[in-house]
């Protein structure tokens, strides 16, 4: 636990005019899961590509399992696995052939590659489809095979680049279970996702990145606490009424957000704060037609960060 399994400092990478990474630093303790959360183009895939040795940074330094990803890339490759949107399996091979090929190329030995392939097909529920060509697989089966392919040589560090993008809920939950199993068996996981729910469900630490930089880091609970413990959703039925409520709340020190005829207000003071909110509105805006109280999601965190706002 003393030295992080993944450590990066000041990573920069530009593609032509576009600065994909602008000084990103991170550290992932061994055996934990870091969720890298950000929208398209925020630098998630670039980060993973650099850490997984398929791309060189313009500046900055990174180590995986204590090995430098640029100068010791060949040794890094022996301890990492990569699965994700841009690291594919071969559609014209069967699931079993894919795993055996990648196993041999991962230098686990011919016999071991066969045994591991069978084992992984079994544990990822692909036994029935093992000898069918991957081009006939569903999206969920392909992703599971993709993750299995990253595990042939039992990597100690696993990179998952948007592993569930485009999957139906059932496939997504099945993949989540696999990731949890891996993490509990001691594998360090760096996972990128656009889904806040996914980071919440899987990650020990979440790093929110935006425009190639870390915007915030913390445990899912910490982030939620920092950005409020409850969210009040008030619906006024009409946009003008919501605008009036927005003005009233803003002048009273809240930081409301308006979506159409609805207003959202975050509060760190718990659901009791609803009384205060309604008192502010009394007389200055029509009564809301509905009021809902919910727990904040990482969406709330993310939206307020990328809009530069802060919770009340």
């Amino acid at each position: 636990m003393s030295k992080p399994a993944i450590e990066a400092s000041g990573l920069r990478k530009a593609f032509g005019e576009v600065q994909a990474l602008d000084g990103l630093s991170l550290a992932v303790p061994a055996g934990t899961v870091l969720g890298l959360l950000g929208p398209n183009g925020s630098g998630k895939t670039t980060t993973v590509s650099i850490l997984a040795t398929s791309l060189r940074p313009d500046a900055g330094r990174a180590t995986v399992a204590g090995l430098d990803v640029v100068t010791e890339a060949a040794r890094v490759r022996r301890v990492i696995g990569l699965a994700g949107q841009f690291a594919a399996v071969d559609p014209n091979l069967t699931g079993r052939e894919n795993l055996r090929l990648i196993g041999r190329l991962s230098r686990v030995g011919r016999k071991q590659a066969r045994a591991r392939a069978d084992e992984l097909l079994d544990s990822f529920g692909l036994n029935g489809a093992a000898d069918r060509l991957v081009r006939g697989y569903s999206g969920g089966m392909r992703r599971r095979l993709d993750v299995a392919a990253a595990l042939l040589h039992r990597p100690s560090v696993l990179f998952l680049d948007e592993p569930t993008t485009g999957l139906d809920p059932e496939s997504r939950f099945a993949l989540w279970d696999s990731v949890r199993d891996l993490a509990s068996s001691g594998t360090t996981v760096l996972l990128t996702t656009q889904y806040l729910e996914e980071a919440d469900a899987l990650a020990d630490q979440v790093m929110i990145i935006s425009a190639g930089r870390a915007a915030d880091t913390g445990t899912p609970a910490e982030l939620k606490a920092r950005f409020g413990t409850v969210v009040f959703h008030l619906d006024f039925g009409r946009q003008e009424a919501a605008e009036a409520a927005h003005t009233a709340l803003a002048s009273a020190g809240y930081r409301p957000q308006r979506h159409g005829s609805g207003i959202e207000v975050r509060s760190a003071a718990g659901s009791g704060e609803l009384t205060g909110v309604l008192r502010v509105l009394g007389g200055r805006a029509p009564d809301p037609v509905s009021v809902a109280v919910r727990e904040p999601t990482l969406d709330d965190v993310f939206l307020s960060l990328t809009r530069g706002g802060e919770a009340a």
């Binding site: 997984a52 040795t53 060189r56 022996r78 990492i80 690291a87 399996v89 071969d90 091979l93 100690s156």
Partner: protein, 285 residues
């Protein structure tokens, strides 16, 4: 991390002089080469399986030269007069050269497909030998060339080709053809790595090959071309190959032409392999 601890450090025993260190280095180099060959075989096997399972490309690789045999043997052949020989015996060496030259399009298309699907990204993060991605691709394309050439021999014989100087001469000529095909396929490997769209790779590759094949003496004697075209057409590798094949198959002093063709193929192989390896290494920059 036990996986790391197991790896022997190369610098170990730095103070020891002479035999053991050198021996260790040789053994390490030998084992690296063995690993690279084994990786190449694995990648080649994967590419061959892929080709067999997408047989359209293979079928077109065969149909195209067959059409050229029919076209030149029966449609144009009557109008082409080559002194001292049957036109079909003159034609087939050209067909063999054309077949493997256009086979190199498959190398470009295959690699650009690997770029597009993302399988190259996975390969780049595996502890495999990097050169195996390229060597495995060109080896599979060499195997495909062997198959297509075998079919073309059959088609040639059906169209009246007789290889007047015997089987040995024909086999020697085909050896040159295969060597040329292997070298040029490395040339198109770089192209395939640079475009992530198989159609674009094909569109870029075909005109170059057309230029080389149709300015050479593949189908008509160069003497029938205007001087400026001859100047280009007779100083390029397809023409050198066709001349060497004809010298062997039709008889005559062959050593000079054979050496020129081998020099072209050897030179192309070295330059193109270095270029392709460099292109692949730079993909992560």
């Amino acid at each position: 991390m036990s996986t790391i601890a197991m790896e022997p450090r190369q610098a170990a025993g730095g103070g020891v002089t002479g035999g053991p260190v050198t021996g260790g280095r040789v053994a390490a180099a030998a084992s690296r080469i063995a690993d690279a060959l084994s990786d190449t075989a694995d990648v080649a096997w994967r590419n061959l399986l892929t080709q067999l399972r997408t047989p359209q490309a293979l079928v077109f690789a065969i149909i195209q030269p067959v059409i050229f045999v029919l076209l030149f043997r029966y449609a144009f052949g009557g109008a082409i007069h080559v002194p001292g020989t049957n036109y079909v015996d003159f034609l087939m060496p050209g067909i063999f050269a054309q077949t493997v030259a256009f086979g190199a399009v498959g190398t470009a298309v295959g690699l650009s497909g690997d770029v597009r699907t993302g399988i190259l990204v996975r390969f780049r993060t595996l502890p495999m030998a990097r050169i195996a991605v390229l060597a495995g691709r060109t080896a599979a394309d060499l195997a495909r060339n062997l198959l297509v050439i075998a079919v073309m021999i059959g088609v040639g014989f059906a169209a009246g080709f007789r290889s007047p100087h015997g089987a040995g001469a024909l086999l020697a000529a085909l050896g040159l053809v295969i060597a040329f095909g292997y070298a040029i396929s490395w040339g198109f490997a770089s192209l395939g790595l640079r475009v992530s769209d198989p159609e674009a790779a094909q569109a870029a590759a075909v005109p170059v090959l057309f230029l080389l094949v149709f300015t050479s003496a593949a189908f008509v004697p160069s003497t029938a071309m205007p001087g400026w075209l001859q100047a280009f057409g007779t100083h390029q590798p397809v023409d050198a190959l066709v001349n060497a094949e004809r010298a062997l198959i039709l008889g005559g002093p062959a050593a000079h032409d054979v050496l020129i063709s081998l020099a072209w193929s050897g030179g192309m192989l070295v330059v193109f392999a270095l270029l392709a390896a460099r292109t692949y290494a730079r993909m992560g920059r």
